[in-house]
C-alpha cells in the first residue's frame, strides 16, 4: 500500500517536472511570436496582453518590404545550403577514410587534430580571416564566406561521419571489391546507400551551425545587399526606430529554418551528436 502511494506520488512529481520543463522551453518562443503579431502600440501598453486583441501581420509586411528581409533570407539560404552540402561531401570522404585507415598512430593524430579545432575560439580566427579576405579582395564575397563556413563545421562532421562508417563492416567493401569495384565505387554504390541517415545528420548539423553564424559574417560582409539573416538582425539593434514587433518578426523568420531542419532531422542529429561528439 505504502509502495503504491509512493509510486503515484512519484509519477505526479515526474509529470509536474516534465510540464515545467516544457513551459520553460516554449515560453520565450511563444512570447516573441505573440510580440510579432501584435498591432501598433499594443506591444507598449501595460498591462501586457498575452494574446493580441487583433492579430496582425503588419510587422512581417514591414520586415519584408521596408527592411528588405527577403533578400537576406535568400542570401542565408543560398550560403547555408551550398556550404552545408559542400561540408557533407568533404566530410563523408574524410570520415570514410578516417574510419578505414589502418595506420593506428596516423589515425589517432588526425582525429586529435580534428578535435582540437573545436577549442579554437571563433574570434581569434576572425581578424586573420578578415585580413586574408582583404588581401585577396574577397571582402563581400559570399562564395569565400561559404568556404570558411565549410571549414568551421568540417572537422566535427568528419568525426561524426567516421563514427557512422565505423558501424559498417569493412567486409561489405571487400565483397564489392571482389565484384570488381574500386574504392570510390565501393563507397558510392555500396556504403553510401546504407549511410543515408548519417549523411542527413551531417547535413542538418552543418546547416544549423552555418545558418546561425554571426561574427564571421559581420566581419567579412560589409555591403548591405550581401548580408545574411543574423547580420541583418544585428544591424537592427543599432538602427533606431525599429520596433520590437519588426524585430520579433525578424527573429521568428530567422529561427524557422533551423527549427524545420531540427524537426526533420532530430532523430539523426541526436544520434550523430552523441556518437560523434563525445566519444573520446
Amino acid at each position: 500500500m505504502i509502495n503504491r502511494n509512493k509510486k503515484i506520488a512519484m509519477s505526479i512529481v515526474r509529470t509536474v517536472l516534465l510540464a515545467l520543463f516544457l513551459i520553460a522551453a516554449l515560453l520565450p518562443l511563444y512570447w516573441i511570436f505573440v510580440t510579432s503579431i501584435k498591432a501598433g502600440n499594443e506591444i507598449y501598453t501595460f498591462p501586457l496582453k498575452y494574446w493580441p486583441e487583433k492579430p496582425s501581420f503588419d510587422s512581417y509586411r514591414e520586415l519584408f518590404s521596408f527592411s528588405n528581409f527577403g533578400l537576406y533570407f535568400r542570401n542565408s539560404l543560398l550560403i547555408s545550403l551550398s556550404a552545408a552540402f559542400g561540408a557533407m561531401i568533404v566530410s563523408i570522404l574524410a570520415g570514410f577514410a578516417l574510419s578505414r585507415l589502418s595506420h593506428r598512430r596516423l589515425k589517432g593524430a588526425i582525429e586529435l587534430g580534428m578535435y582540437f579545432t573545436q577549442t579554437i575560439p571563433t574570434f581569434i580566427i576572425m581578424v586573420p580571416i578578415f585580413t586574408i579576405f582583404s588581401f585577396f579582395h574577397l571582402i563581400n564575397s559570399r562564395i569565400a564566406l561559404g568556404f570558411v563556413y565549410v571549414a568551421t563545421v568540417v572537422a566535427f562532421c568528419t568525426v561524426m561521419g567516421k563514427s557512422f562508417f565505423d558501424r559498417i563492416p569493412a567486409s561489405l567493401e571487400e565483397a564489392a571489391k571482389i565484384d570488381g569495384c574500386n574504392l570510390m565505387q565501393a563507397l558510392t554504390k555500396v556504403i553510401l546507400p546504407i549511410t543515408l541517415p548519417g549523411m542527413a545528420a551531417i547535413f542538418c548539423f552543418a546547416f544549423i551551425n552555418i545558418w546561425n553564424e554571426l561574427f564571421i559574417a559581420v566581419t567579412v560582409l560589409s555591403s548591405s545587399d550581401k548580408m545574411t539573416v543574423p547580420v541583418a538582425l544585428n544591424s537592427f539593434i543599432s538602427k533606431t526606430g525599429i520596433s520590437w514587433g519588426v524585430m520579433g518578426a525578424g527573429i521568428v523568420v530567422a529561427l524557422l529554418p533551423t527549427m524545420v531542419v531540427f524537426g526533420i532531422g532530430q532523430k539523426y542529429i541526436v544520434a550523430g551528436l552523441t556518437d560523434g561528439g563525445v566519444k573520446g
Binding site: W31, L98, T117, P121, I124, M126, F215, I251, T258, G263
Partner: protein, 292 residues
C-alpha cells in the same frame, strides 16, 4: 597502398581545416605580439608582450573584474545547465506516450543561435515592457518595473539565466543517450542487493555514464567561455562592465577599438586559460577514476 588512397580522400578536409582554421589561428597568435591597429596600419611591428601588459593594466576595462565575471558566468551557467539537463534526461529515460514529440519540443533550443536567443531574452527582461516585469507586477511582487539589464546587480543574473536555458538541451540530449546505454541487468542486480533509487543513481548510473559526464562538461566549459553571442545581444558587457567577460571584451577590442593586436591578445589569454584548465581537469577526473 590502400592507406595512400584513403589519405588522398582526406585531402579536401585537410585543406579546409588548415587554410581556414589552423593558418588563421597561427596568424592570430602572431598578431597578439604585434602593434596591429586598423588606424595605424603603416606602423605594424612586433612589440613583445606590450599588448598583454596593455590589456591587464587598462584602467577603463578592469582586467581582473573581467576575469572574475568570466568565472561567475562560467560556474553558475555550467552548474545549472548540468543539473537541469541531467534532471531532464532522467525524466525522459522511461518511455511514455508522446515522448518523441516531447523531447523534440524541449530540445529544439539546441538548434537556435545564441545571438537570437539573447535578443529574445533581452525582450523578456526588458525594463519597461518585458514579460517578466509584467508577471512580477501582476503577482504584486514588485510595484514598478525592474531594470533587469540596466542594473549592474541584476544584469549578470539575467544573462546567466538565459545561458542556462540555452545549455540545458545539450546536456539533456547527451546524458539521455548515455543513460539509455546503461545495461538493465545492472539495475536489476542492484535492486536485488537492496539499493533504493537514490543509491542506484549514485552507485550505478553516475559511475557508468561518467565518461560522458566528463567530456560533456569539458566541451560545454569551452563553449561557455568562448562564445560571446548571448551577452553581446543582451548587454554587450554593460552596464559599467558588470557583464563583461573575456570573450565580449575581445569583440569590443575588434569591433569598436579596431585594435586587432590587443583583441588577439585576449584570444590568446582565453586559449591559454582553457588549455591549462583542460589539462588539470582531465588529470583530476582521471585520477579519481583510478581510485575507484
Amino acid at each position: 597502398m590502400r592507406n595512400k588512397w584513403l589519405l588522398v580522400m582526406m585531402i579536401p578536409a585537410f585543406l579546409f581545416v588548415i587554410l581556414f582554421l589552423y593558418f588563421p589561428l597561427a596568424k592570430g597568435v602572431v598578431m597578439a605580439f604585434q602593434n596591429y591597429n586598423m588606424f595605424d596600419l603603416t606602423n605594424l611591428h612586433f612589440i613583445g608582450l606590450d599588448n598583454f601588459k596593455a590589456i591587464i593594466t587598462d584602467p577603463y576595462t578592469n582586467f581582473w573584474q573581467i576575469l572574475w565575471n568570466t568565472l561567475i558566468w562560467l560556474v553558475f551557467s555550467l552548474v545549472f545547465q548540468f543539473l537541469l539537463g541531467f534532471t531532464l534526461a532522467l525524466l525522459l529515460k522511461k518511455p511514455f506516450a508522446g515522448r518523441g514529440i516531447y523531447s523534440g519540443l524541449v530540445f529544439y533550443t539546441w538548434a537556435l543561435s545564441g545571438f537570437a536567443i539573447g535578443l529574445i531574452w533581452s525582450w523578456l527582461f526588458n525594463g519597461q515592457f518585458g514579460l517578466f516585469n509584467d508577471i512580477l507586477i501582476r503577482l504584486s511582487l514588485i510595484e514598478t518595473p525592474l531594470g533587469f539589464l540596466s542594473t549592474p546587480k541584476l544584469a549578470m543574473m539575467s544573462v546567466i539565466i538565459t545561458n542556462i536555458w540555452y545549455g540545458v538541451p545539450f546536456f539533456g540530449i547527451m546524458l539521455l543517450a548515455a543513460l539509455q546505454s546503461v545495461p538493465n541487468e545492472l539495475y536489476e542486480a542492484s535492486t536485488l542487493d537492496g539499493c533504493g533509487a537514490v543509491k542506484q543513481l549514485f552507485y550505478v548510473t553516475i559511475p557508468y555514464i561518467k565518461p560522458t559526464i566528463v567530456s560533456t562538461i569539458l566541451l560545454r566549459t569551452m563553449w561557455i567561455v568562448n562564445y560571446p553571442d548571448i551577452i553581446y545581444a543582451m548587454t554587450n558587457g554593460g552596464p559599467v562592465n558588470s557583464t563583461n567577460i573575456l570573450a565580449t571584451q575581445m569583440i569590443n577590442e575588434v569591433f569598436k577599438q579596431y585594435d586587432y593586436g590587443q583583441g588577439s591578445a585576449f584570444g590568446v589569454v582565453i586559449m591559454v586559460i582553457l588549455f591549462i584548465y583542460s589539462v588539470i581537469y582531465l588529470k583530476l577526473t582521471k585520477s579519481s577514476e583510478d581510485s575507484i
